[in-house]
């Protein structure tokens, strides 16, 4: 029997992002559509950054997760437009990021507070961080450097 679309979304909601395993691919907002074309399950994915090296791993993990649930015919579609934006990171995802020590994206362009001590006395160390989607900031109170999920 064919699983429901909601069921597939739930399954995908359990697949962790390979670079930030604290959040799922659904939390990250890169799964744009799930549907069936005949008996083929079609998952539409948008890349975070065009050169993100995790893209092919993400596709592999989606396929592996759905196969594990018994789906056999799976097609992955790449969608470039509309381009991914950090606005698509879910509220649950933002909460998980902060707990994990990564400040979630803010429309103002910088972190709201230190994810460790909640201080707002912060400074930018570098516009780029450990992955293409992050920048490096430092808290001037607890002195800890931390990752900020940059806003695009």
């Amino acid at each position: 029997m064919r699983p429901s679309i909601d069921q597939i979304w739930d399954w995908l909601g359990e697949v962790p992002d390979p670079e930030i395993p604290a959040i799922s691919l659904v939390d990250l907002g890169i799964i744009r559509d799930v549907g069936f074309d005949g008996d083929t399950c079609v998952v539409t994915v948008t890349p975070t950054y065009s050169g993100c090296p995790a893209t092919s791993v993400i596709n592999m993990e989606i396929e592996a997760a759905l196969r594990e649930q018994g789906l056999e015919k799976i097609e992955l579609k790449r969608q470039l437009s509309p381009a991914w934006t950090t606005d698509w990171v879910s509220d649950a995802g933002r909460e998980k990021l902060e707990k994990y020590g990564i400040a979630p994206p803010q429309p103002a362009g910088g972190p709201e507070k230190c994810p460790i001590c909640a201080s707002t006395n912060l400074e930018l160390l570098s516009q780029f961080g450990s992955t293409p989607c992050k920048a490096q900031w430092r808290c001037k109170d607890c002195l800890e450097p931390f990752d900020y999920f940059k806003c695009i």
Binding site: P47, Y49, S50, G51, C52, P53, L80, S81, P82, A83, W84, T85, L125, S126, Q127, F128, G129, S130, T131, P132, Q136, K150, I152
Partner: protein
């Protein structure tokens, strides 16, 4: 029409590819760790953009060539990048100034390409423009900081500007390919971007307390049609392509 589109896509892809490769040469060598990471991430974005442009170029050409085939199996005379991006890195200041001169153009060009009558081109541009906006923010800020910095950083930035500025002007040399693509609304005429580009660069350079040299692009040919490349491109290709040349068809 398909030929002109193929040429235009190679120009877009090759600029990103060759600059991305040049910038990646800094990996593990930058003056501070943060800059090392920033340069590597910038290179990564550029290679991602390369992949999107060259993949489409291969489809338009219709001979079954993939983005990898185009990147790794063409010779120097088949590359369509401007000379600016193939020049050696020089010191960190020269690298970051070249990055700014390219980023500023890339952003304006991509913003214009978002309105392309070719859906695939406009979709790639939409994605890439977001990254380019982030790049220009960083490279512009660093150019201003180093230009308006110490006596030594100021001198080095002025030296870099004197070397690189004439090369930036090649971005606006146009030919019949540009005319055909602009007429079809697929790609903007580079000339239409020149005034806003020069104004933006001029403002940045004066904020950096540097002086624009009197300059013109002195070479007799352009990298954009492949009739002219510097001797540096061949050296880049020996590094970039050696694996596919030594072990044809090798994959991960």
């Amino acid at each position: 029409m398909a030929d002109a589109l193929f040429e235009s896509l190679l120009r877009l892809g090759d600029n990103a590819l060759i600059l991305g490769h040049r910038v990646s040469e800094w990996c593990g060598h930058a003056p501070v760790l943060e800059e090392d990471i920033a340069l590597a991430n910038t290179a990564l974005d550029l290679l991602g953009q390369t992949n999107l442009w060259l993949e489409y170029a291969g489809e338009v050409e219709g001979k079954g060539r993939s983005a990898d085939d185009l990147a790794f199996l063409r010779d120097a005379w088949d590359f369509r990048n401007v000379l600016l991006v193939e020049l050696p890195n020089g010191d960190f200041g020269q690298t970051i100034l070249r990055q700014y001169l390219y980023d500023q153009f890339n952003l304006m060009n991509l913003e214009a390409l978002k309105g392309s009558t070719d859906t695939r081109v406009s979709e790639i541009a939409e994605k890439a423009a977001k990254e380019a906006a982030y790049h220009v923010e960083r490279s512009r800020g660093t150019v201003v900081g180093l230009g308006d910095g110490t006596e030594e950083s100021h001198r080095r930035m002025q030296d870099a500007l004197n070397i690189l500025y004439p090369y930036a002007l090649e971005l606006f040399i146009t030919d019949e390919v540009d005319a055909e693509m602009a007429k079809a609304g697929i790609i903007p005429d580079p000339k239409s971007l020149e005034d806003t580009y020069l104004a933006a660069v001029g403002a940045t350079i004066s904020e950096a307390t540097l002086e624009l040299p009197q300059a013109h692009f002195g070479h007799r040919g352009s990298g954009r049609d492949g009739r002219m490349h510097t001797e540096h491109l061949g050296h880049i290709l020996t590094q970039m392509q050696w694996l596919q040349r030594a072990y044809p068809g090798q994959s991960w």
